[in-house]
């Protein structure tokens, strides 16, 4: 019997700072099995990446010892398993596939990150999500603008299927550190009641509108506290207002009138970006909820890695 499309063809890993997701894919790139473990770079002691890999993919390798594995994300950073140096723009699936770093002891390959120079900017993991989003939405490959909201939001320009430029906003991390460690999170940390969904959304949109009107928001961050002290905002809604300020500021700086960007990532977060973009006049932004798997499959194919193997 020869191998079929239903046989395993690739072990795919999305390996970031705080988590590791892994899939066993068939010859059409469909997941046969999936798993997830809290084995991101931050959790792995003594750089024991091999043990982490075995914990999520070892059982598959026992059954299919020759199955190739492809990983994307921070596992290829300098502090990762094996460094996969940044590729310059323009970079698409073919360029990424041609610059994989190898971990021979596990027949594993790692997708490189992408760098833009002047001013310097880097991504690692997002390049694979972009490849996946374009595989899912080939109509956007010719020329498009993709937004990957998150800890370090990326706004990416694509031309002819390749990343030609991008910018980064630390919106997610900025929100997290201000919430957990600054005076702006004090009301919530002191137990202010969380607002209802409608009140939260209204406060969020007030923040978006304020940032949009000002064009920038750093001079407004403190108003997330001052408006509460002035009785204009419920203490529990201060962080929703702040979230609106930060996302509004990102859009004010990154979005160009007329653009309808494609949003890639977590559904709840993409929804907030969609609401905020609508306030700027960019209605109808579409979403791709999770593009990592499709991107790993796309790069694996460009590298000639995905070959079905019979058990």
């Amino acid at each position: 019997m020869t191998a079929t499309h239903d046989d395993p063809a690739l072990i795919a890993l999305d390996w970031g700072t705080s988590s590791l997701r892994a899939w066993l894919l068939d010859g059409a790139g469909r997941p046969i099995e999936a798993t997830r473990a809290p084995l991101g770079l931050m959790q792995i002691a003594d750089r024991n990446f091999a043990a982490a890999f075995d914990a999520v993919a070892g059982a598959w390798r026992v059954r299919w010892p020759h199955l190739p594995a492809l990983a994307a994300g921070m596992v290829g950073a300098a502090q990762g398993w094996v460094e996969a140096p940044y590729l310059p723009c323009p970079a698409g699936p073919d360029e990424l596939a041609g610059a994989l770093a190898a971990v021979p002891e596990r027949h594993l390959f790692i997708v490189p990150g992408v760098i833009r120079r002047v001013p310097a900017n880097v991504m690692r993991g997002e390049e694979t999500q972009v490849a996946g989003a374009l595989a899912l939405r080939p109509d956007l490959a010719a020329r498009s603008r993709l937004v990957l909201p998150g800890t370090h939001s990326k706004w990416v320009r694509v031309e002819e299927g390749r990343i030609v430029g991008f910018d980064s906003w630390m919106t997610g991390e900025l929100f997290a550190v201000l919430k957990d460690h600054s005076i702006l999170g004090r009301f919530s940390r002191d137990g202010a009641a969380a607002p209802g969904a409608d009140e939260a959304e209204a406060a969020f949109l007030e923040g978006v509108d304020a940032a949009r009107a000002a064009g920038r928001a750093s001079g407004l961050y403190f108003s997330a506290r001052a408006r509460v002290l002035a009785g204009e905002l419920a203490p529990g809604a201060a962080l929703d207002y702040l979230s609106g300020l930060l996302i509004g500021e990102e859009i004010a700086a990154a979005w160009a009138p007329g653009e309808t960007p494609l949003l890639i990532g977590d559904a709840a977060l993409c929804r907030r970006y969609r609401l905020a973009l609508a306030r700027f006049g960019a209605a109808g932004a579409e979403e791709v909820p999770d593009a990592a798997l499709a991107g790993l499959w796309r790069v694996a194919n460009a590298a000639g890695l995905a070959t079905p193997e019979r058990s």
Copy 2:
């Protein structure tokens, strides 16, 4: 014998979130004795403000039981000893003196904060520093622009000796939380060698220039990491570059061409603001290193509080 100008006339307290400074002043507002204790609002358990007051000023009160005391700062906040509600702009020494909150059990008065509405903004403590700076520099009372750099930087407009408007930037706190808790402080937290003074200043000015060129900096924060990964910036200088981005962003938003603001506060911080302002073309900014004491004296006099008492 009657009281003279050399006899004690006032106990003055600058009472903030993290420290408490106290002075015994003579009838000309000159310090006879000074003390400082780590008894800010954050350190005081069970709201035992009376015990904190006694710890720094109790010995003076034993000798001069009727000496009035005047405090400014967060001690007058809702979470302080007694709330001194915010006064609306315009507010100067006379308005502040007319709205003191009283703590009768210790013959203590507290200076109110100031609020600006639409958008809401508050200060508490800075209003007294502004009164002090104008007492020290009466030539600036008619019309001036004062900058109080710090945790929550204030840019204040003064007309006819009164605060007519102000804005807040969380520059100091933003820097602190990004340094201590975000990926931008990782190099330093992981032990990157601190740069020499010249290298630190050069990186700081690069950050100022980048923020100035862009007009806003939130899209550049991540470059404090990316430039290191790209080999453009020493790991130990990443935080100096970030400091330049944040201060540059504040100035880009707050400073109007042609203005030469007066800087009030910590000398090292004022020096960084002076360097940054010079990059924007605002050379020659002057400084008032510590205006709290002069402000407390100015408000006490406006309130008729400062009366020499013989021991």
